[in-house]
Symmetry: C2
Subunit: 146 residues, 2 copies
């Protein structure tokens, strides 16, 4: 039965989920990040294609190994909508670090995550990351700041 307590517990669980996710990304912990996904998660990523089904461990590994050391990940404006076993949240996140090429990366990204609770455990069933683009040049705008 739904109670106000269940809802506030769900919200706290999603907040903890996001904190753990940020830690796992900083540590480039591939298994920890992969374990957050439902097998049939639908991901709209920064890179093509339009959508992928299932977490792409190879792509994640490539992303992690494109950075020399740690990936810094900072989250702001996290907003959570949580029910008993369905939840979603949105936030802006900043990725900084030194690429293997020596280039300094520093970009803000918009993130949305959708969750479903299965067998008592929250899993990501949908992920949507993006940058807006200039309507005249069609360039993705990677240097916007919130």
């Amino acid at each position: 039965m739904k109670t106000e307590n269940t809802i506030s517990t769900s919200e706290a669980q999603i907040r903890e989920f996001i904190n753990n996710r940020v830690s796992a990304i900083r540590k480039k912990d591939l298994n920890a990040v992969l374990s957050e996904y439902a097998p049939d998660v639908v991901i709209y990523s920064l890179a093509p294609p339009l959508q992928t089904e299932g977490a792409d461990s190879k792509a994640l590994e490539r992303w992690f190994s494109s950075y020399r050391g740690a990936i810094e990940c900072e989250i702001r404006d996290l907003t959570i909508f949580a029910g008993e076993d369905i939840a979603f949240c949105h936030f802006l996140y900043r990725i900084t670090g030194t690429m293997m090429t020596g280039q300094q990366e520093d970009m803000w990204v918009r993130g949305t995550l959708g969750f479903q609770k299965k067998d008592g455990e929250w899993l990501i069933v949908h992920q949507h990351d993006s940058e807006p683009f200039d309507m005249h040049t069609f360039n993705a705008l990677l240097d916007l700041k919130p």
Copy 2:
């Protein structure tokens, strides 16, 4: 109290919401589209900035009036996760039409919508639309097809 019936009703309501939304966009019905949003909706749009709070009626009006006639809107791969009063869905949508400039528009976009039921009525509390971009040229990829 949550029942399986409540959940399947929620899903049916979100499906109908999306159908009505597509109709309203096709008809360029500004008021119908605006009435779907919660006052504090957070929107991640194709165009900058990173985020806006509240539906931007001027931007919507400009979008509608940039097309000569009707805007064709087609949705595919709609997937809905609905609880008692929290829901979200994701889908790909195709926008086609003739711009005021004479240019033929035809693009697929990734869409995510987050909903909250308030006083018995579902409202959009989060909208995320995007195109992926090329990781080398940083060009938004507007010609991808699902």
